[in-house]
Amino acid sequence: MNTFWSRLYSWADERVKLGGLVEYMGKKYVPVNRHSIWYYFGGVSLFLFIIQVVTGILLLLYYKSGELLAFESIQFIMAKVRFGWLIRSLHSWTANLFVLTAMIHMFSVFFGKAYRKPREITWITGMVMFFLALGFGFSGYLLPWNELAFFATKVGTDIAGAVPIVGKPMMVFLRGGEDVTGATLSRFFGFHVALLPGIFTVFLGIHLLLVQRQGMSEPLSHGDSPDTERKTMPFFPNFLLRDMLFWLMVLNLLAILAVFFPWELGKKADAFASAPAGIKPEWYFLFMFQTLKYIPGKILFIDGEVLGILVFGLAGFLWLMVPFWDRKSSRGETNRLINYVGIFVVFYMIILTIVGWIV
């Protein structure tokens, strides 16, 4: 058996020169410090993404798009297809956990100032993937064509429509018309299973390549200690095994969630029914949703919602661009402002999410 694998390896090595790659992997070290735990959240996000690809492809085997078939095909998957309920529940739960782990990953990078030079591109690609993940969540939410999804999509696309100048054409583009109809479902289906995965994969490739090339960032406070005093751990196999142990734990958590808290399907969407009481978007949009509830209809001469969108848009843009305006961290100095901004954002999101959940 051993000879078979070694012969296979040398067969490949002769042709594509694996030696250099193996040597590179063997020399890869991961820093060990009291913030090391945060290093695992990027990896686990990758793991959850892979689960999404696999369960997504499985769902594609039975899912039918279109307003006449979508809801019924999900019913069919959940009721008739063997383990269909599990696959669908896993896909929904994993989507939520993915956004959560990506968020934790993002905040740990933010507070660790790991975005500072030379990792600006890693941060930007990561943020783009995060926005794409929200796009995945939003477009995937509509695909079962249920009541909640229908109104969530109406509201979400209407918000896009309120953006000055480009908003209206963008809304029509997203909806495939003036209203949310079967045309919207077709488009969202295309975005969800083709457009977004394609773009995401490109950014993921760049992101992972940069992480391999540059190694893990260390907290600023560790920069002073000489190389000999820095503790490290080999990536292969020490870190990878720990990574995989965490993945296994998350897989178990997912199994528990999917089995004991199966994802509901709700009622089929009806364009001529009122929005049901207690309607809420997915939790990761909840803080923005709750903010929109508090902004009055008109502030001076601007529509409240337009103001809300502009403020969130600007905040998102500043967040994305943080490596370029946080000059201090790039020079290796402490920047307390970043911590205050981060703490404010975390608390704002947590408090408004809780309020949105309860009210």
């Binding site: 109104f151 109406k154 696309t157 583009f173 909806r175 001529f272 929005a275 049901p276 008109k298």
Partner: protein, 152 residues
């Protein structure tokens, strides 16, 4: 070409001309690819049947202090009957973010579940985020039949 003499000068103008031609050709090819794509993305206008009036049911079928959603072409319209027994009809599309409103007997209001927007029974936005009143429709009662039509 200019009257520039010498092999170099002539070459420069020729090179410039070729560069211009190549650049222009590239831009034109790009436009020829992008224009159909952009045009394709924009959904075509569907010919809608112009609806001016719909039947909304019988007077006796609606209790006082109640409301129903009526299909008006491809738009939802809310028909409400107030405590005095009068009928009113409004666009059921919330002026805030496009959700469909409902009649709430306990509040005596038209309410939107999405962002807690409230309108009184004259369609006026009285609380929450809606920026404008609901568009009003005309209700015509002929004997027992209720019909709704667009306000002129």
């Amino acid at each position: 070409m200019t009257s520039e003499v010498g092999p170099n000068g002539e070459q420069e103008t020729r090179r410039g001309f070729l560069r211009y031609l190549l650049g222009g050709g590239l831009v034109a090819s790009l436009a020829a690819v992008l224009y159909p794509i952009m045009a394709y993305l924009k959904p075509p206008q569907q010919a809608e049947v112009e609806v001016t009036s719909v039947k909304a049911g019988k007077v006796s079928a609606m209790e006082k202090e109640s409301g129903i959603i009526v299909r008006f072409g491809n738009k939802p319209v809310i028909l409400v009957r107030n405590a005095a027994g009068e009928f009113r009809a409004f666009s059921a599309t919330c002026t805030h973010l496009d959700c469909t409103v409902q009649f709430r007997k306990d509040m005596g209001l038209i309410w939107c579940a999405c962002h807690n927007g409230r309108y009184d029974l004259n369609g006026r936005n009285v609380a929450g985020p809606p920026p404008r009143p609901l568009d009003e429709y005309r209700v015509i009662i002929q004997g027992e039949d209720i019909s709704i039509s667009k306000k002129a």
